[in-house]
């Protein structure tokens, strides 16, 4: 019996495909998310929109809160640690979370190094803005990738930018001759072996979700049609007028992302979406996506 292999780490993300992972801050939220059909929840003390308001240093959540949420639901529970903070990751592994998000939404603990994720049995998901960043994270042991988007804004524009960048570069590399791959690997700052694997598979070598700014069923379906495998919704659900109904609608929108009639049906009467902040109004210093490299 072998545990913690790449196959079971990456495989867990494969089971999440076509699903919605929702940010929750209480056991009650977690139950609403599970009842709505979330395929996993992200347990944290504050959703990104509140982290923005609160300011200061954002850290790993209280393990006690995460454990309460783990006891409440039967679906997988993820939790966030700071970029480079491998001790927060050790603590999250020790309490048995199902996935760790090494996340730019929290304040980075290391400006040079990300966590060596190969040292852990628990799998990691990491954010990216382009293919090079995604493949660097995979080289460090990430078993799942998500776009960074711009968390806590309710503005999908950055998630679209990052997904288009990643998927566009995958299309580009898939059309290359083998002797062009090394120069491309150098250009994007990624290991040649992973660039070659991506070219051969014609897709990201691990599961690739969208995150950061998804607030409506249409946003979620947009990301799916652009070619991601599933969607994270952070502040978009529990900062809206009717979280349960919106959560159910986004779950359906991700399954039926290619069926505009169903998308119209599920988009009706959802009440107010989260208020949102236009990303263009955000000063550079308040943008989270620039964290990590």
């Amino acid at each position: 019996m072998e545990k913690g292999t790449d196959t079971v780490k990456r495989g867990h993300a494969q089971m999440l495909k076509g699903g919605v992972i929702m940010d929750v801050v209480t056991p009650e939220h977690a139950r609403i998310a599970e009842d709505a059909g979330a395929c996993a929840v992200m347990a944290l003390e504050r959703v990104p929109a509140d982290i923005r308001v609160h300011g200061g240093v954002a850290r790993m959540s209280d393990p006690g809160l995460i454990l309460e949420i783990m006891e409440t639901v039967s679906i997988p529970v993820m939790a966030k640690c700071r970029i480079g903070h491998f001790v927060e990751a050790q603590i999250l592994e020790a309490i048995g979370v199902d996935y760790i998000d090494e996340s730019e939404v929290l304040t980075p603990a290391d400006e040079q190094n990300h966590i060596d994720k190969t040292k852990f049995s628990v799998p990691f998901v990491c954010g990216c803005r382009n293919l090079g960043e995604a493949l660097r994270r995979i080289a460090e042991g990430a078993a799942m990738i998500r776009t960074k988007g711009e968390a806590g804004t309710g503005d999908v524009v950055e998630a679209v930018r990052h997904a288009r960048s990643v998927i566009g570069e995958i299309r580009r590399v898939s059309g290359m001759r083998e002797d062009e791959l090394a120069a491309f690997a150098k250009e994007i700052g990624a290991p040649l072996s992973l660039v070659a694997e991506t070219a051969q598979m014609g897709r990201m070598p691990v599961v690739n979700f969208a995150a950061g700014g998804v607030a409506t069923p249409a946003d979620a379906a947009l990301m799916m049609q652009l070619g991601v495998d599933g969607v994270f919704v952070g502040s978009g659900i529990f900062k809206s007028g009717n979280p349960s109904q919106r959560a159910k609608a986004i779950v359906k929108a991700v399954t039926h992302y290619n069926d505009p009639k169903i998308l119209a049906e599920v988009s009706k009467g959802l009440g107010e979406a989260m208020v949102g902040i236009g990303v263009t109004q955000l000063p550079e210093s308040e943008r989270l996506a620039g964290r990590g490299w």
Binding site: G4, K17, G18, V97, Y99, V251, T255
Partner: protein, 192 residues
């Protein structure tokens, strides 16, 4: 032969790729009308609560139960849970395979594992079993055959007539023997 893969949530694409490698173009099934004339249906791994809710909301439960009288059905992991009559908690299932199932029976993700298996009906040596937050079958009812047990006695593969269920994920390996086994069951209808 017409094979569908339930595409509500989970690793349905991986099953489609396995079938493609065997020369079968699988149909992704999201709505009841797409079930028509299927010879076989695969229910992939994924979150059984999510799959159950979406299947209920889009009225797929009864049509799949009806399909079970004429077609072969195979559930992997979450799909095994979805096929069971009893999962020990209140969540929608098809109730087609007479068995009591325990979800997440081996623990959380950190306990997920790989192990070589001997499976009845699958010749040619050990089969690599990938178990991810996997369920196990605690008890089987009348008419259900056990195809595979782990060393600790956990039941991880069963067959009831033309329905099969596995706790593990053949679709995450390059080994297509379980898919071929399933296609053989599905083909029996076409010939009869």
């Amino acid at each position: 032969m017409k094979i569908g893969v339930l595409a509500l949530q989970g690793d349905f694409e991986e099953h489609c790729v396995c079938l493609k490698n065997l020369g079968i173009k699988a149909l992704e099934i999201r709505l009841p009308s797409q079930l028509e004339d299927l010879d076989g249906l695969i229910i992939p791994g994924g979150e059984s609560t999510t799959i159950g809710k979406l299947a209920t909301d889009y009225n797929l439960l009864d049509p799949i139960r009806a399909l079970a009288t004429s077609a072969a059905i195979w559930g992997t992991c979450g799909g095994l849970v979805f096929l069971a009559t009893d999962v020990g908690r209140n969540q929608p299932t098809l109730g087609l395979v007479n068995m009591v199932v325990e979800r997440n029976a081996f623990g959380r993700q950190i306990e997920s594992f790989e192990e070589d298996l001997t499976i009845t009906g699958i010749p040619g040596g050990p089969f690599r079993g990938i178990f991810i937050r996997a369920p196990r079958v605690k008890r089987v009812g009348i008419g259900v055959d056990i195809l595979c047990e782990l060393k600790d006695g956990s039941i991880v593969a069963v067959r009831q007539g033309r329905l099969i269920a596995t706790s593990f994920h053949p679709e995450l390996t390059k080994d297509t023997r379980v898919h071929e086994y399933f296609l053989n069951i599905a083909a029996q209808k076409v010939n009869s």
